[in-house]
């Protein structure tokens, strides 16, 4: 129990401290140390779950089971590496005159609060609190997206707030309906919103109400996942916000939102005799993959390119959970992990590349590898990994998803394959000239932090060839849970 409390309390304490002391020279370091401590706490929590099995503590308000434990660790890990990356990155931004100390103070404290909201969303057992935390995650990032105060970033933040706000309101209605269905069986009061309690009685939940609830929940949380046609906010928010924010939005927030959808799906699957929830997810997932792949080739801004790639990958994961069954779910969970690591690594490299060349327009970024081999190779390898080249982990998960799709939903396979091919052509043809060829990059005033990029890519590479046994066990038992 103490571990969960620590995981949640550390980011809050960090946020309060960073807001109080303001922007000092040591503030980025405080940010890094807080994130590291959070990661250590989550590692201890993980070790405990490995040892003693699922945790259900504090009058059942918090739940850590195989499904969310690896997401907690992943969130804390990417939070830590992002904090490490953002230290030199934000210093360069400050020296370029794009940020003031007041805004950096806002950035650091909001970053920690954002970590808190995501960890709360992951660990809570209460479907209502899950909603509250998801909404809070939007609120903490709105001001981060508009951190540069440029017209475009303000527009992006406004779009983000309104679209996700409306979306999340739908999810609230879905939650109310879920409570409505549960309250008949479990009685009024807090118990009727606890996921574990709901899961116990899921077979007797009223099917009409639950299916209606799922539509609202899927649309609501799906907006935050970035599912087409609710994805409009995503490329703007990713492109206009500072790069560390793009990295955590893409690598973490989308995962957490999808986690919320899947938790709800488990309940709905139990209540309905047919595959209603699964079909909806297959449909939305496939649509997202195809539309995002088509839009990839039209992108000119490098961060928008990878934002669309995130939509594509979220679509693949949603599709996998939609198919269901042990293999597809396993692949979906693995894909969540590797996508999160790879995409944040790419954003780290992209951030420094954009700083070196002073632009996010891909046509103007050339020959990164000549002036800075680390950034160039980081971007190239990251792009290859995200495109599903073996032996990276993305290949393994995509391969599993495709082979299951061939068996379960054969009609969808050609669309998936075509979309993956298109995405490969689009991204590879854009990344290749950016990495190689004549250069136009300049020297940076501060050494960029490239360790996070290669650490992430190394883990993705490892997951492609060897998955640690405990992780495979979790994936398997979580896959059983998801059904």
């Amino acid at each position: 129990m103490i571990e969960i409390l620590l995981v949640l309390a550390l980011p809050v304490a960090g946020a309060a401290l960073l807001a109080l002391v303001g922007h000092r020279a040591y503030a980025p370091l405080v940010n890094v140390v807080t994130s590291m401590l959070t990661f250590v706490a989550s590692a201890v929590l993980t070790a405990r779950v490995i040892e003693q099995g699922p945790l259900l503590v504090m009058s059942k308000q918090f739940l850590v089971d195989p499904f969310n434990v690896f997401l907690v660790a992943l969130t804390a890990f990417v939070g830590m590496t992002t904090a490490i990356f953002s230290r030199p990155y934000m210093r360069i931004e400050e020296q370029h005159g794009r940020l003031t100390p007041a805004r950096l103070r806002l950035y650091h404290s909001m970053f920690q609060l954002f970590m808190f909201t995501m960890l709360l969303a992951l660990t809570t057992n209460n479907v209502g609190i899950l909603w509250v935390a998801m909404e809070a995650a939007t609120l903490t990032t709105v001001l981060l997206v508009s951190l540069y105060r440029t017209p475009a970033s303000l527009e992006a933040a406004w779009k983000y707030f309104i679209l996700c706000g409306v979306g999340i309101a739908q999810a609230l209605f879905g939650t109310i309906l879920l409570y409505f269905a549960a309250e008949k069986l479990l009685g009024a009061g807090g118990g009727a919103l606890l996921w574990t309690e709901l899961n116990d009685v899921r077979a007797s939940l009223e099917p009409t109400v639950v299916s209606l609830a799922f539509v609202f929940l899927l649309v609501g949380y799906g907006t935050k996942v970035g599912l087409v046609p609710l994805h409009n906010w995503l490329p703007d928010a990713h492109a206009e916000g500072p790069t560390p924010v793009s990295a955590v939005l893409s690598g973490l927030l989308l995962n957490v939102a999808l986690y919320a959808v899947v938790r709800c799906k488990v309940l709905v699957d139990g209540a309905l005799p047919d595959a209603f929830a699964k079909n909806l997810m297959v449909g939305f997932g496939l649509l997202s993959v195809v539309v995002a792949a088509l839009l990839l080739s039209r992108q000119k801004d490098i961060k928008r390119l990878f934002a669309y790639s995130s939509i594509e990958h979220m679509g693949i994961i949603t599709f996998a959970f939609g198919i269901g069954g042990p293999i597809a779910n396993f692949a979906g969970l693995l894909h969540m992990t590797v996508h999160s690591l790879t995409k944040s690594a790419i954003f780290f490299a992209v951030g420094h590349a954009a700083q070196k060349t002073g632009t996010q327009v891909m046509d103007e970024i050339r020959g990164l590898v000549t002036i800075s081999p680390m950034i160039g190779w980081g971007l190239a390898l990251g792009a290859l990994a995200i495109l599903g080249m073996p032996p990276f982990g993305v290949f393994a998960s995509e391969f599993l998803i495709l082979t299951t799709a061939m068996r379960e939903q054969p009609w969808a396979t050609p669309f998936l394959l075509a979309a993956l091919g298109l995405a490969f052509a689009a991204v590879f043809s854009k990344v290749q000239p950016m990495v190689f060829g004549e250069t136009n990059a300049m020297r940076l005033p501060v050494r960029p932090a490239m360790i996070p990029v290669f650490a992430h890519l190394a883990i993705v590479l490892m997951l492609g060839v060897w998955i640690p046994p405990f992780l495979a066990d979790w994936y398997r038992s979580a896959a059983r849970l998801i059904g």
């Binding site: 209460n126 209502g128 609190i129 909603w131 509250v132 909404e135 809070a136 609120l139 709105v142 001001l143 508009s146 105060r149 440029t150 017209p151 475009a152 303000l154 527009e155 992006a156 933040a157 406004w158 779009k159 707030f161 309104i162 706000g165 409306v166 309101a169 609230l172 209605f173 939650t175 109310i176 309906l177 409570y179 409505f180 309250e183 008949k184 009024a188 009061g189 807090g190 009727a192 919103l193 009223e206 009409t208 109400v209 209606l212 490329p235 703007d236 206009e240 839009l295 039209r298 992108q299 000119k300 928008r304």
Partner: protein, 222 residues
Amino acid sequence: MSAIPLGHQLINLFAAVLLLLAFAMLSQRRVVSLVDLFAAQGLVLAMSTAVVAYTTNQPHLYESAALTLVLKVFVLPWLLYRLIRRLDVRWEFEGLINIPTTMLIGIVLVVLSFNLALPISELASTVTRSTLGIAIACVMLAFLMMITRRKALSQVIGFLAMENGLLFAATSATYGMPMVVELGIALDVLVGMLILGVFFFQIREQFDSLDLKHFEQLRDDE
């Protein structure tokens, strides 16, 4: 014919007033009056929650009513008035669709909402189940207002009105959500409003207005 108890009549009356207020908001073009209407909606919502609490003997609903009263009638309108004064916004210009057409679309939405509510309210055992349709209609109308308005502030009031409608839906379908969740929602709304306050000043500083027509630059093909 058995007489309907006074409590139920009151709840139905309040529900009708809420719907009326939602339509009034849809047709109102002065931003200050929009806030007045929003505060009135909050007041009606709080009163109806209190009546439900009294007739059904659900003490936790009193807390919910008090929370609504403080937040929706005092704190949020006060924040909004302050924002309006300091930002000096008075009029909403003609929206994207003119007001009579918006009202007609609104009526269609109300009919749709009642249809949507039908299967749920048949299953509900609460005395307030007949008002669920109205609650969904309020949500839809607020949504319509958000779509048709161009001023950032009107969109936000629409957003808050939508949240009112959802709370009303929760009260009529299930006698309210558990307290911890309601508190969390209230906190989110309050923090959201404060953040938006900051955000409005950023928008104004950048564009010299809160008109969202300036917001048409982010396109894929640029």
